[in-house]
Structure formats: C-alpha cells, structure tokens
Symmetry: C2
Subunit: 160 residues, 2 copies
DNA sequence: GCTTTACCTCAAGTTTACTTGAGGTCCTAG
DNA sequence: CTAGGACCTCAAGTAAACTTGAGGTAAAGC
C-alpha cells in the first residue's frame, strides 16, 4: 500500500481508486461509461474523476448483473433516475423490486420447463405434435394473469 | 408445395428437407455439423444427405437448448452415445435426467439469489462487508451436499 | 438445353460484456 | 530533470451461436 496515494476522504476518485474499491477493472469502468451506466468529469490533464456516489452506483450495477439483468437494461433502469443522481434507498427499492419481478418470472419459466421435462423423461416421444417440450407455445397459454412483464417471446432458449 | 420434390418416405434427407422438417435453418445445420453435433454423408455431387434419425437427434438438441444447455455440452453429451448412433429412448432418459439435474441446480441458485434480494430490498445497504447480495461467496458455504455438478464458480452472474 | 432452385465453401458480421495491446500523455518522486 | 506509474484513446480480440454474403456447382423442371 505504499505506492497508493493517500486518500482524502472527501475528494473525487480517480479511475484506479474506483477500480480498487469496487473490484471492477479499469477497462470495465471505461466500458460502463461508454455505455452510459456511469459518468465522470475530467481534470485538466484529461483524467477521469468520479463522485464518491459512484461506488454505490457500481454496487447496484454489480448486483443487477448477478441477477442476470443485461447491461442495456441496467442502463435503461438507471436512466429513469432523475438526471444521473445518486442512487437513494427508494431508488434501490424500485429497481430491485423490478428486478426481482424479472427474476421471479425467469424462475417460473424454468420451473415450468423442468416440469415439462420431468413429464417427458419417461415418455421420450419428442413427437413434433404431441410433445409439450417441443411446443413452447404452450407456455404462452398456460399461465394465468400474473405480473406479465414485457415478454412476447415464446420459444427462445431460457438462458442460464 | 409444388416446388418441393415429392418425398420418398424411406430415402435419406437433403439439408433443405431437414431444415423444413426440423425448423432449423440450413446454416444452423451446417454449423451443427461443423461442431460435431450431427453428421451426414455426401452424394457424388457433394451434397449432404442425412439419415432419417437426424430429426430425432435435432429434436433432442433443440430441447436441450431450450433447457439452456450450451451447444458444447450438448455435443459432449451426444458423443457419449456409442458411435453416433440413433438416440434411443434410454439415451433420452439418461440425457434428460442429466439436464434436469443441471436445470434444478440453476433453479436453486436463482431461488437463493431471489431470497437474498428480497432480504436486501428493505435494507438497501449494499454494504461491501455486510450485504450478502454483494458477497456471493456465501452461496458457496450455504448449500448442503446435494448433487454438485462441475461448478467451481461463485460470483459470475447467473445468466438468464 | 436452358433456367431456376438447391446446394457448396469460406470469410466476415452480429450481440454481450468485456479484455488486451499499441502508442502516447500526465504526474509524482527522487 | 528524468524514471516510473497511472492514465488516455482507439482498434482488435474473445466466446457463443449463428446469419449473411460472395462466388461457384449441381440438379431438376420445362
């Protein structure tokens, strides 16, 4: 820790500091910025500086990623926050509720899929007409009227 | 259906026929072949010909994909079958049991993740030290001794 | 026999989430 | 003042699962 410049608790952060503190690679921070997920300003020497809030924002991003939310969606969600402001507790609740719904949905789908598979294991027909595993459109008609998020898809593979 | 050559019920299939019957694009069939998932022989004129069993094999592949199994794994699984033989009912049982275990595992993981998220929504701390959502290593210690497939991973995002 | 289709190969493009590398600048310590 | 570390940009590479396109052959219909 000798080469690390002493850190003033209230100054803006350099990209290296953010990287160390967040565990996200510098290249990834560049990338996030390019994708509009995070923001910075520049010093005279053209180096990035970050507000300390960045760390919380990155924490949110990382959690969302663990949840399997694509970066583009995360970016979209973060954009709904008034003018790139600090992520507040309420913001977090909103976002996380949304993402949990998404997660629930995925879990449901996987579970239905597993059930179909279980049915099908004994049968093994894989018949084009009869096999539900082969006819994904079923999944469309079979669920009630729960919270339906944007999801006009039917067959595309349930990603991992 | 006028341009479609009359189909002899017992002759080998051309790539176009396989495509129509399986719903898989010709380019995808080429691709699968290249990846060793399916096989064909050639006519004098260098065109691919397929055994009728190919349709069942492709059905298996498609189902596996719906289950979220990567092609490389599917290829690996299919290779365990004696010398590229027709997929029998028993083969299907073996494969599907394996894949269901994989699916179960993923569902478990997602469910645990959702529970953590639920806990965390009210809290909103996202603390580096305290927050379980931010400390994926927890997931490592917390599960008993169920069927552990190859899985040395901890934090990487649970893909969709 | 000629014209469509169908098929062939091989290279390159697509998306996601980044990393790696090249070539150059800035800043801090000694 | 100079060495070294931190930083900058931009291009290209990576993996997965294919698709698209170019340029060329084969086979089928009339």
């Amino acid at each position: 820790m000798s080469t690390i410049k002493s850190i003033n608790r209230h100054q803006p952060l350099s990209v290296g500091e953010v990287s160390r503190r967040s565990g996200v690679a510098v290249s990834a921070l560049h990338f996030y910025e390019q994708k509009g997920l995070i923001h910075s300003w520049r010093t005279n020497g053209n180096q990035r500086r970050y507000h300390r809030d960045i760390l919380r924002r990155i924490a949110v991003i990382k959690v969302a990623q663990r949840l399997g939310i694509p970066l583009s969606d995360i970016a979209g969600a973060l954009e709904t926050l008034p003018e790139g402001r600090t992520v507040t507790a309420e913001d977090w609740q909103q976002l996380s509720n949304r993402w949990r719904a998404d997660l629930d949905d995925r879990i449901d789908k996987l579970t239905r899929l597993r059930d179909q598979l279980t049915d099908c294991i004994g049968c093994g027909c894989l018949s084009v007409e009869a096999c539900r595993l082969r006819n994904p459109s079923d999944t469309l008609g079979e669920n009630g009227s729960g919270p339906r998020l944007l999801d006009p898809d039917e067959s595309p593979p349930v990603k991992r």
